[in-house]
C-alpha cells in the first residue's frame, strides 16, 4: 500500500525533479553577493613598496641633474677647502640639503588645483606623500653616509668620540626636515611655504657659521641629541602611519 503510494508521489514529482537553473539569475545573485562581501586588498607593505619604488624612480627621473650637481658640489667643497676650515659646522648644515633641494618639488603636481583629479587615483594623496617623503629621506641618508665617510677622512685628529657625536648630530636636521615637510605639505599644500622654510634653514646655517652659535650647539651633550633624535624618529613614524590611514581629501 505504502509502496503504491510512494510510486504515485514519485510519479507526480517526476517532472519537477530537476529544476533547471537559470544561469542569468545565478550570475546576478553572485554579483550582488560579491558587491557586499569585503574585498580583499593588497597589504600595506606591498602598496608601500610599490609606491616607494615609484617615488624613487620619479625623483631620479626628474631631479637627477640637481642631485648629481649637489653631490659633486658637496664633495668638491670637502676636497678643495683648506685644512684650517671647520668641517664640523659644514657637515651639520649640509646634511639636509637633498630634502631642501627637492622637497618643494614633491607637491608640484599635487597642489590644490589637483584635488579633484586626485580623487580618481588608485592610491590616496597621503599615501603618495608618505612614500615620497620616505624616498627623499632615504636619499638624504645616502648623502649623509657618503659625507660622513669623507668627514672621517678629512678630519686629521683621531677623535673618535667627536666624530661619533657629529654623526649623531647630523641625523637631527634630516629628521626635523622630514617632520616639517610632512606637517607642512598636509596642512598647506603650497610651494611658497617651502621656500620660506628653506630660507629659515639658510638663516640658521648663516648664524651657525658666522656666530658662536655653532660652538654652542657642539658643546651640548651628545645624550641630548640621542634623546632628541629618538623623539623625532618616533614622532615621524607615528605621523607617517597616521597620514597613511587618512581618508581621501574631498572637495568642498
Amino acid at each position: 500500500m505504502s509502496k503504491k503510494k510512494d510510486e504515485k508521489i514519485l510519479h507526480i514529482l517526476e517532472p519537477h525533479a530537476h529544476i533547471p537553473i537559470n544561469q542569468q539569475h545565478k550570475e546576478s545573485v553572485a554579483a550582488t553577493l560579491k558587491a557586499f562581501v569585503p574585498v580583499s586588498e593588497q597589504s600595506t607593505k606591498v602598496i608601500f613598496k610599490q609606491l616607494f619604488r615609484q617615488a624613487v624612480m620619479e625623483i631620479w627621473h626628474r631631479q637627477k641633474i640637481a642631485l648629481c650637481t649637489l653631490f659633486l658640489l658637496l664633495f668638491s667643497f670637502y676636497l678643495i677647502l683648506p685644512d684650517s676650515f671647520d668641517y664640523t659646522l659644514l657637515f651639520l648644515v649640509t646634511t639636509p640639503l637633498p630634502l631642501l633641494l627637492i622637497g618643494w618639488r614633491i607637491l608640484e603636481n599635487l597642489g590644490e588645483d589637483m584635488v579633484e583629479l586626485l580623487l580618481t587615483y588608485k592610491y590616496t594623496f597621503q599615501q603618495l606623500l608618505c612614500a615620497k617623503i620616505v624616498a627623499i629621506c632615504s636619499i638624504a641618508f645616502i648623502y649623509y653616509t657618503f659625507l660622513g665617510i669623507s668627514l672621517i677622512f678629512a678630519m686629521n685628529e683621531n677623535l673618535l668620540q667627536s666624530i661619533l657625536q657629529l654623526l649623531i648630530m647630523g641625523i637631527t636636521p634630516i629628521l626635523i626636515w622630514a617632520v616639517v615637510l610632512l606637517i607642512v605639505q598636509i596642512q598647506y599644500r603650497s610651494n611658497s611655504i617651502w621656500g620660506i622654510f628653506s630660507m629659515g634653514w639658510i638663516l640658521f646655517s648663516i648664524l651657525v657659521i658666522y656666530t658662536p652659535l655653532g660652538e654652542m650647539l657642539l658643546a651640548v651633550h651628545v645624550g641630548f641629541y640621542v634623546l632628541f633624535n629618538g623623539i623625532l624618529f618616533f614622532s615621524l613614524v607615528k605621523l607617517l602611519s597616521k597620514t597613511w590611514r587618512l581618508e581621501r581629501v574631498t572637495v568642498g
Partner: protein, 266 residues
C-alpha cells in the same frame, strides 16, 4: 578711496600664512643670536644700550631682508597665482594706482619689520640686563660697531638706525618689486631675492679668500648687504647717502609704475 584700497591690501598681506611663519622663524633667530652674544660678551656697563644699538649692524642684517623678500614675493604675484589677471584688467582705478597702493603697503610693512626687530631685540636685552638711560651719551658706552662721530645720545642713534634701515630696506623692496613684475611665481621671486643676498655674503666671506678680483670686490662693496649693515657709512657721509637713497627710491618708484610687466594670463 586710496585709504580703503590700502586697508584692503594690508589685510590681504596680513592674512598670508607665509608672513606669520617667517616672522616666527625670525623671532626665533633673533632670540638665538642675542643669546649667543650674551654668553660671549665680557662684563661692562650699559650693555642694554650697546646690545640694542649693535644688534642690526652685527647680526640682525643677516635676516632683516628675509621677511621683506617674502612679503614682496607674496604681494605682487598674489593676483597672478589666484588667476585673477583678467579680472584685474577691469580694475576701476587703473594699474598705476594698483601698483602704488602695493608699494605704500610694502613701505608700511618695512617700517613694521624694522620696528619689530628692534622691539624683539630690546625685549630680550631687557630681560637680561634691565633698562639703561635713553639720554646717555654714546661716548660712555665705549666701542660701537657704527662710527658716527660727534655727540650722539642713545635715542638719537636708535632713531638714526631706524630711519637708515627703513630707507635702505625700502630701496631693496623697490628693486625686487621691479624684478617681480616680470617673474610670475612667488617661489622664484624668493629665490632671486635670497640669492642676491646670499651669493654676495658667501663671496664676501669665503670666495674672496681665494680669488681677489677687483670687480668682485666692487660688487661686494656696493651691494645691498653692505647697505643694510651700515658699511656704506664708511664710504659715503650720511647726507650724501640720505639724498642718494631718496633720489634712487623716487626713480625706482617711477620706473616701477611705468614699466609694463605681466598684465593678462597667457
Amino acid at each position: 578711496m586710496v585709504s580703503t584700497l590700502i586697508r584692503m591690501e594690508l589685510k590681504k598681506l596680513v592674512m598670508q600664512k607665509e608672513i606669520h611663519i617667517i616672522l616666527a622663524i625670525c623671532t626665533l633667530m633673533i632670540g638665538l643670536s642675542q643669546k649667543v652674544y650674551y654668553s660671549v660678551e665680557e662684563v661692562q656697563l650699559y650693555r642694554f644700550s650697546k646690545s640694542l644699538l649693535d644688534f642690526v649692524p652685527m647680526v640682525g642684517y643677516l635676516f632683516l631682508l628675509f621677511p621683506i623678500i617674502v612679503a614682496v614675493a607674496r604681494v605682487l604675484p598674489f593676483e597672478y597665482e589666484q588667476k585673477m589677471m583678467e579680472l584685474l584688467a577691469t580694475y576701476k582705478y587703473g594699474r598705476k594706482i594698483f601698483l602704488l597702493v602695493k608699494l605704500i603697503v610694502l613701505f608700511c610693512y618695512c617700517a613694521f619689520i624694522v620696528f619689530y626687530f628692534f622691539l624683539v631685540a630690546g625685549i630680550i636685552s631687557y630681560f637680561f640686563y634691565g633698562l639703561d638711560n635713553w639720554m646717555l651719551d654714546i661716548e660712555s658706552i665705549g666701542y660701537m660697531y657704527i662710527d658716527l662721530g660727534g655727540e650722539w645720545r642713545v635715542w638719537e642713534v636708535l632713531a638714526f638706525e631706524y630711519v637708515y634701515l627703513l630707507l635702505s630696506t625700502f630701496t631693496f623692496v623697490l628693486c625686487l618689486f621691479l624684478v617681480a613684475q616680470f617673474v610670475r611665481r612667488s617661489i622664484f621671486i624668493m629665490l632671486i631675492g635670497g640669492a642676491t643676498f646670499l651669493v654676495v655674503e658667501l663671496f664676501d666671506k669665503y670666495v674672496t679668500r681665494f680669488i681677489n678680483h677687483d670687480y668682485i670686490n666692487l660688487i661686494i662693496k656696493y651691494s645691498f648687504n653692505r647697505l643694510v649693515n651700515f658699511e656704506f657709512l664708511n664710504v659715503f657721509t650720511f647726507p650724501q647717502l640720505f639724498i642718494g637713497l631718496i633720489i634712487g627710491m623716487l626713480l625706482l618708484i617711477i620706473v616701477n609704475i611705468l614699466v609694463e610687466g605681466i598684465t593678462v594670463n597667457d
